[in-house]
């Protein structure tokens, strides 16, 4: 989640591709496009990894499109019901939707970036309570009742839709709930 040099999560989030449009000809780098062309032509569209994109953007050599995980359609869905959007399917299993989003926020200009940042915050906030509920009930039940919790399918869907950081949080809450439960059930009588 952080920009720490050693953070594996940051490196993984960095690896997301962004669709960029070149504004100028670049000689001898056609192989980046994967085609036969020797040069990159103006207006050609290439998926660039995130670590490369900002430099090119600041030099004003490329334009970029907001990646699909943050498209208008997704944002509308998130506004409507944040808990029903499967973030994991937007960025792939274990993908870092929030980290990626934050990187995009940094690339965007003022009104757009603010809007996206707000979407990120609100989404996280809205999903947090459910996340904890799920983690605690799931963790509590896993030991005793084989994971059969009343929430049923909705819960399963929600759990599968969690992205990287949310998964980490889920595990944290689950572990502490389980440890506490074990303690409550243990006995000091020897």
């Amino acid at each position: 989640m952080d920009d720490d040099y050693y953070s594996i999560d940051a490196i993984l989030a960095d690896n997301q591709k962004i669709q960029c449009t070149f504004k100028l000809d670049v000689p001898n780098l056609g192989y980046l496009e994967g085609g036969e062309e020797k040069d990159i032509k103006t207006n050609s569209k290439i998926q660039l990894p995130h670590w490369l994109a900002p430099t090119l953007l600041y030099q004003d050599w490329v334009d970029f499109a907001i990646p699909p995980p943050f498209s208008l359609r997704v944002r509308k869905a998130l506004n409507a019901e944040p808990r029903h959007v499967r973030l994991s399917s937007l960025v792939g299993g274990g993908g870092q939707w929030y980290s990626f989003g934050r990187m995009i926020v940094e690339l965007l200009q003022e009104p757009q970036s603010e809007e996206l940042a707000k979407v990120l915050q609100q989404t996280f906030h809205a999903r947090l309570v459910d996340l904890m509920d799920q983690a605690q009930n799931f963790g509590g039940a896993a030991g005793s009742m084989g994971g059969a919790v009343g929430s049923g399918d909705v819960g399963d869907d929600f759990r599968e839709g969690l992205e990287g950081v949310e998964r980490e949080l889920f595990t944290l809450a689950q572990d502490s709930a389980r440890a506490t439960k074990l303690w409550y059930e243990s006995s000091d009588k020897k």
């Binding site: 989640m1 929030y98 926020v105 940042a117 303690w183």
Partner: protein
């Protein structure tokens, strides 16, 4: 880091119980002993009909050897807990219970159930209390932001259970927040935006 992964987020419940076993509790010993100086402090004297204050770990130890009866603390009885439970369910705040009540109550119920009046009733009351408080801390989660979270009267066991999750979640909030502040300066019109770093 040398600590195994599961121990990193914070102390385990057993460690909290260990810490709580330093709290003082009253016993009525069934044998006599002179004042004894331990590194930890002075214990005794024990004079049978009289009572004495000792740390919980010693009380438990003596109790298991049938050498004392434990006098339950004044909050560990049905009336008091019932009052707290009523308070808990009627008001949005957490009721004031001793900070380590969960640990002490559990140890006493395990070891010295025969010294308590209506231990089963106490057990179920404690369980109700725990559930009522849990649903409140869940509500507290809705108020979570990147700066602070205020929940008065949370006890040590509850804090310990929530800590890893809340800390990490606040970390994520901070990460999502600083950006919008960096990019949107002060005109972002948010509720927390007037916070200066």
């Amino acid at each position: 880091m040398a600590l195994p992964q599961p121990l990193r987020p914070g102390p385990t419940p057993y460690e909290l119980e260990f810490i709580a076993s330093d709290e003082l509790i009253e016993i009525s010993p069934s044998f006599s002993m002179e004042r004894t100086r331990l590194i930890h402090g002075i214990i005794g004297p024990f004079r049978p009909p009289g009572k004495s204050k000792v740390p919980l770990w010693l009380a438990v130890n003596l109790k298991l050897k049938r050498k004392c009866n434990i006098v339950p603390p004044d909050w560990l009885n049905v009336e008091y807990l019932q009052e707290r439970l009523a308070e808990e369910t009627s008001s949005p705040a957490f009721s004031a219970l001793p900070f380590r009540f969960a640990e002490i109550a559990k140890v006493l119920l395990d070891v010295a159930a025969d010294d308590l009046a209506l231990p089963d009733k106490i057990r179920s009351l404690l369980k109700d209390l725990r559930e009522a408080r849990q649903s409140k801390s869940r509500d507290g989660l809705k108020k979570l932001d990147h700066i602070q979270l205020e929940m008065a009267n949370l006890c040590s066991m509850e804090i310990n259970e929530l800590r890893p999750f809340f800390v990490k979640a606040m970390g994520v909030f901070t990460k999502l927040q600083t950006d919008s502040q960096g990019n949107a300066d002060d005109q972002a019109g948010g509720q927390d935006m007037d916070f200066s770093w």
